[in-house]
């Protein structure tokens, strides 16, 4: 947006050119504006953005260039440096041109800076001040448009302020691939607008607000909340998913009011998904629990004191206890919770993930890729599982960029084609139960049998990265594991990148809060000693609880009733246990059955660290103080340690140290530190061999429950603006299947199997594989998990036409 930091090191080789009389060198093919930036000469600009293609729309970066044919004014963002080019950025002609361009841009720009959200950090203000004429000669009426029109639930557009720089439209079409805003009309009536009846419903709409060089696009959640000069910011990391996008959390009057993307070369390139950007609204939700609560006899909640709450929790944890959740905590909190649970209360059953993601053991055993490694030119990316856009939206943008420009070949294996299916070399549609089979087919078929598009999978010259996620919670997770094994056996050089739904899942693995076999080096660091299995998968914990073998269940920001694949089991488990302790900030279906609720600090209120899906360690910054009597997870865990019945003082002091420093023996030796943060070293465990069941063949469609970005997650539900973005339940069926079953568009269909029968709306969608019924998880209206029998590896449903509406 503004000038990139000028680097002090000046190149001595490359293309020689003269900048303001100074002999310099630029890289081959480098844009003049970039070369000037590098040499500390700032050229004003509006439309140029280093993460997008130049278009030369605004003409602000015009400079005087002499390539041997005499000096001429040319836009520096459209010009590559050529040998012996002479550039004048301070000449009279350049200044005149800058002056003129600004006068033109300001001719129709309204003077409502005092009420404009951009006022104070506005490139147009800055450039007009630094390079502008200083006075206006215009007395004429300015161009008028209706003041802000909402172009989506999140973004408002004020066309009067627009300077037609093409940044937002370029971002929407080139970067995000959602070309929903465009220029319309011609000449002085040219304006940016959406198509009639098509809102700017993009997962990335917030980025256009950040890159808009004027206040034409403003974000509804931030509108009039603060002015730029009373914002203070802390560098932090987005935690809504495991992409680890770098952000700046900004606050005013001790309230988080804005989150801006930070351009991190290794991770998100400055882009954020709207979920990452607008998630802070829940912090100030009226429904937030601000003091410890206890469930009264009549089921209502009543406040209690922290001391009593901790005492009750400590007593309850002393009996047969288990803990679920913790994948959203900071690395430090995960570590301390693990210590407190295992060492102080001797709890052996705990799992940070909720059985709806890839298991930690599988991930542990695979060689990891970084985003940079995966998206390096000339490599091949295989996406196994869900559409990356729904799970890691900000990383999807990077994948889209490299696939679109052809530098990376993409092959997909899924039940519903991803958003990149058209750009992919091949999008293989599979069906539940057949994923491993189809992956094996693609990787091991003889060249004659294999489609030539799939040859890139076995071309060992091209590095292969597999980005994988749990494709379907209605089927056994073994099919994915088996598919990954197949890939690893055919391509032992392949690297893997898990796409976890929950933020700090890798952190939880590192802190030992996920079940699995832990290997710890003995003192001579040569013999690797196996330590007993720790933790226990959520499925087992809930089964035991339902059988009455667990007395206390601790929920660490987890909602198993909404997230665990088998809802009935989760409900039975929460019913059967004596005491449910919820460490959470809102009431959700699971917290509703909690006996004690410990209110916990949220994003932006705690310091700590986060480990993203590639294993990159990045900081979480506390920007505001936690409201009410809320405490951080670390505080809660550490104070529980003090009340533990068999508390031993050594463990306590070690806990206190880690509490203070956040650096106690987390497996730091597994981390490689570098300038871009830290990465976990690739472990060398063998992959656990899994042979999944051969699916039974039955009539009907195979049920797939997939994820959407906007669902009824606890935080999204409690964000004022975001809550409305969650769609209502609709199943998707391939048109061929719809014809086969005689389903007519617009009518509801009846879906049934042995477990449930329901009449639900449906749409035909050719991206869904044939023989598959695709249903979104955890959205409004209906819960598709009611069809699933957890013990069966594939779930079949029958569909028939419902009543005409």
């Amino acid at each position: 947006m503004t000038a990139t930091e000028s680097s002090a090191v000046k190149a001595t080789t490359g293309v020689p050119f003269t900048l303001n009389g100074q002999e310099l060198h630029a890289e081959e093919g480098e844009l003049l504006i970039e070369a000037c930036d590098k040499n500390g000469v700032h050229i004003p600009r509006f439309c140029y953005h280093k993460r997008m293609e130049s278009v030369g729309m605004c003409r602000m970066c015009i400079v005087e260039v002499d390539t041997g044919r005499g000096p001429a004014l040319q836009p520096s963002c459209m010009l590559t440096v050529t040998p012996e080019m002479k550039v004048e950025t301070e000449s009279e002609a350049t200044k005149d041109a800058q002056d003129g361009v600004l006068e033109l841009l300001l001719a129709n720009h309204p003077l409502d800076c005092p009420v404009c959200d951009k006022g104070g950090e506005c490139p147009l203000q800055d450039n007009a001040f630094a390079y502008g004429p200083g006075e206006s000669r215009f007395v004429e009426e300015k161009r008028h448009f209706e003041k802000p029109i909402p172009i989506s639930d999140l973004v408002k557009l004020d066309r009067e302020r627009c300077i037609l720089c093409d940044r937002c439209t370029r971002f929407a079409s080139d970067v995000a691939g959602d070309s929903l805003i465009h220029f319309i009309d011609r000449g002085s009536s040219t304006q940016v607008n959406t198509f009639p009846d098509h809102p700017f419903a993009s997962y990335y709409s917030g980025n256009t607000v950040q890159i808009c060089p004027v206040g034409a696009l403003t974000a509804a959640p931030y509108r009039f909340k603060a002015r730029p000069w009373d914002l203070t910011g802390s560098p932090s990391t987005a935690t809504v998913d495991s992409s680890g996008s770098r952000v700046l959390v900004q606050s005013s009057q001790d309230k988080v009011v804005r989150i801006q993307g930070v351009d991190s070369d290794a991770v998100n390139w400055g882009w954020l998904s709207d979920k990452e950007r607008f998630i802070y609204e829940a912090n100030v939700s009226e429904d937030r629990i601000l003091q410890p609560m206890r469930r009264a006899v009549d089921g209502s909640l009543e406040p209690m004191r922290w001391n009593d709450a901790l005492k009750q929790t400590s007593e309850a944890l002393g009996k047969k206890a288990a803990a679920i959740g913790g994948a959203r905590l900071t690395l430090e909190a995960q570590h301390v919770w693990q210590k407190v649970l295992a060492d102080e209360f001797s709890v052996v059953s705990y799992d940070a993930s909720l059985g709806d993601d890839v298991s930690a053991d599988v991930v542990d055993s695979l060689p990891k890729a970084t985003y940079d490694w995966a998206f390096n030119a000339g490599s091949v990316v295989v996406v196994v599982g869900q559409d990356l856009k729904e799970i890691l939206p900000s990383i999807y943008l990077r994948l889209r960029g490299v696939v679109k420009d052809g530098s990376v070949e993409l092959v997909e294996f899924n039940y519903k084609s991803g958003s990149l299916a058209k750009l992919a070399r091949k999008s293989v549609q599979s069906r539940p139960g057949e994923l491993a089979k189809d992956v094996k087919q693609a990787f091991t078929a003889t060249p004659g049998e294999r489609s030539s598009d799939l040859n890139c999978l076995v071309d060992t010259d091209k590095p292969l990265t597999v980005i994988f996620s749990r494709p379907n919670v209605a089927e056994s997770a073994d099919y994915l594991t088996e598919a990954l094994q197949v890939i690893q056996s055919v391509r032992p050089d392949a690297h893997f990148l898990p796409a976890f739904r929950r933020g700090n899942t890798v952190g939880a693995q590192l802190a030992g809060l996920t079940p699995g076999v832990r290997e710890v080096a003995t003192e001579d660091e040569i013999i690797v000693e196996q330590v007993a299995v720790v933790g226990r998968p959520t499925a087992e914990i809930l089964q035991e609880a339902a059988n009455g073998e667990v007395e206390t269940l601790l929920l660490l920001g987890a909602d198993p009733i909404s997230d665990f694949p088998d809802k009935a089991l989760a409900e039975a488990a929460l019913d059967a246990v004596n005491t449910v302790i919820a460490v959470d900030c809102f009431e959700n279906p699971s917290v509703a059955s909690a006996n004690v609720i410990l209110p916990v600090a949220m994003y932006g209120e705690v310091n700590g660290h986060f480990v993203n899906s590639e294993g990159r360690l990045s900081p979480l910054g506390a920007r505001v103080t936690a409201p009410g009597l809320v405490r951080s997870d670390l505080e809660i865990a550490a104070s529980l340690a003090k009340t533990a019945p068999q508390s031993n003082s050594d463990a306590q002091s070690s806990l206190e140290t880690s509490h203070m420093l956040g650096s106690e023996p987390i497996a730091w030796d597994l981390l490689e530190l570098s300038s871009e943060g830290a990465r976990i070293k690739t472990p060398t465990k063998p992959i656990q061999r899994v042979k999944a069941d051969v699916p039974t063949v039955a009539d009907g469609l195979r049920l797939v429950i997939g994820n959407k970005l906007w669902d009824q997650g606890t935080i999204v539900e409690n964000s004022r603006t975001l809550a409305g973005l969650c769609e209502t339940f609709k199943v998707r069926i391939n048109p061929a299947d719809a014809d086969r079953f005689g389903l007519t568009a617009g009518a509801e269909i009846v879906v049934k199997n042995a477990k449930a029968t329901a009449s639900v709306p449906f749409i035909t969608d050719s991206s869904v594989a044939e023989g598959v019924l695709w249903a979104p998880a955890n959205v409004r209206g209906f819960d598709p998990r009611s069809f699933v029998t957890f013990s069966e590896s594939v779930c079949y449903v029958e569909v028939s036409a419902g009543e005409q509406k």
């Binding site: 005092p114 603060a226 002015r227 000069w229 009373d230």
Partner: protein, 211 residues
């Protein structure tokens, strides 16, 4: 006895007479008449309205941003389009001045783009606690006649409400058309008359303008 050496100065000053000026006018400060104040004295602030009753403050926070004592707290909010508080999109939703901090430098008045905040010449006001030292929008805003509110603990005298200099623009842009061209307050208050600015913009409908 060296300590007595300082006393001659004390004694000398004793008979020199008083240099402190009496604030109260009249001999010996006995009468209840205020001394005349300088023309540019900065006193307690007022938040002005337009002639048609709309508030001039748009909640832009420029006053708060420029304030060297950080005594102003402003928050903006969206105007209700059918019943606006101020012209335009945004209005001052919260407006507070902490007079324990205010140094009456008048920079807020200079920063204000709409002449919403001006200063009266009143400085005779005192507080008993911190809370009442913080003037909120309720207290700062002029009343329906454009006159500053006279709060019980403030010592207002006849004619002092004229000196608020909130006279510059009479009618709100895009405000109530009944008031276009009318100038009353500033004239009534004895501050002269300035012609109201034209507010009827000739807006030509554009073909691409959405409904």
């Amino acid at each position: 006895m060296g300590y007595l050496a300082g006393f001659p100065i004390t004694l000398k000053k004793w008979f020199e007479g008083v240099t402190t000026k009496n604030y109260r006018a009249g001999k010996g400060g006995k009468s209840d008449v205020k001394a005349p104040k300088p023309d540019r004295l900065h006193g307690r602030h007022v938040l002005n309205r337009y002639e048609d009753g709309l508030e001039k403050c748009i909640g832009c926070e420029l006053c708060a941003g420029v304030c060297p004592a950080k005594c102003i707290y402003v928050r903006g909010a969206d105007n209700n389009p059918t019943d606006p508080t101020s012209p335009g999109e945004r209005f001052g939703f919260v407006y507070e001045i902490n007079y324990l901090r205010c140094i009456h430098c008048d920079l807020c008045v200079e920063a204000c783009p709409t002449e919403a905040i001006t200063e009266s010449k009143l400085f005779e006001f005192s507080f008993e606690d911190r809370k009442s030292a913080i003037y909120t929008k309720n207290e700062l805003l002029v009343d329906e006649d454009g006159k500053p509110q006279q709060l019980p603990w403030e010592d207002w005298r006849e004619g002092e409400d004229k000196a608020t200099s909130g006279w510059m623009r009479a009618t709100a842009p895009s405000g109530d058309s009944n008031y276009v061209g009318k100038v009353a307050w500033s004239g009534e208050l004895g501050y002269g008359v300035r012609q109201p600015e034209s507010v009827e913009l000739t807006i030509k409908p554009k073909s691409g303008d959405s409904k």
